[in-house]
Amino acid sequence: MNELMSATAFKWFLTILTGGLAGAWFVYDSINLIRTRNLDRTDAVIRDRHFGYVMGIIIGVIGVLGCLKFHGVV
């Protein structure tokens, strides 16, 4: 049984799927964090949201770095 696509196409498919989402996520959560920066941080839910956005940004960076490593850029 053959695989679905060539090895090169599969590599780029994974890169676009991962890098695309990770990059978009990085931007999305950065915007969320900036937009909510002035909200009351004594509210536990606001702190939860900020913590989630920071984690989302870190996950986005890891995703993009992984893609760059995958292609030998870093």
Partner: protein, 198 residues
């Protein structure tokens, strides 16, 4: 079979009290959630036969169905507490199964996989404690964990696709540990929000 009651905001009017709407567990959103289990046998088959691309396809379908069930719940207006719980359990089973299989076949390192499963089980236990502290069925909404669950789905894809497996798996563990610690503090020690009136 019992039904889960949810408040339907669209049924409220100014002079009538909100009546909890009954949502059957046999609804389209839960059907989509349940269909995710159908991706597990072909996932196992693909890994067992060494078909990396097919395995990636099946875990991708599983992840897409996870996103689709929320959309279906909105479209058919069939969100329920049972549906949320069923979705969380399905996430745990599908992604737990996938992680164990890729580790068992040597496609992913065992130590981070074991750590991830341990932290995941611990987090689930904390959620039960949180619900017990609240004295009512209550799900702790963790913004950080929501993001990490998507990363978990990707972890299996990284293993089936052979994409920087060690990098992604080893970075996942400290991130998950920090999030579980934060959520543990919130669930076990912080005050619980009061129940909202129906």
């Amino acid at each position: 079979m019992s039904t889960a009651a949810v408040a339907d905001p669209t049924s409220e009017s100014a002079d009538a009290p909100a009546v909890p709407r009954k949502v059957s567990p046999f609804n389209p959103a839960n059907a989509v959630t349940a269909s995710r289990f159908l991706t597990l046998p072909p996932l196992y088959w693909a890994i067992d036969h060494g078909y990396h691309q097919y395995a990636t396809l099946f875990i991708l379908i599983c992840g897409l169905l996870d996103k689709l069930d929320g959309l279906v719940a909105k479209v058919f207006n069939c969100r329920s507490a049972f549906g949320e719980l069923f979705d969380a359990i399905t996430d745990g089973i599908c992604y737990g199964f996938g992680l164990i299989v890729v580790a068992a076949y040597g496609w992913a390192p065992w130590i981070p996989v074991a750590a991830i499963i341990f932290l995941g089980v611990s987090n689930t236990a904390m959620r039960f404690v949180y619900s017990w502290r609240a004295q009512r069925p209550m799900n702790y909404k963790s913004y950080a964990m929501e993001r990490l669950v998507a990363y978990t789905g990707y972890l299996i894809g990284f293993a089936t696709g052979g994409m920087e497996v060690r990098f992604f798996y080893w970075w996942f563990v400290p991130l998950m540990a920090v999030i579980v610690l934060y959520d543990t503090k919130r669930m076990l020690f912080d005050p619980i929000p009061a129940a909202r009136a129906a």
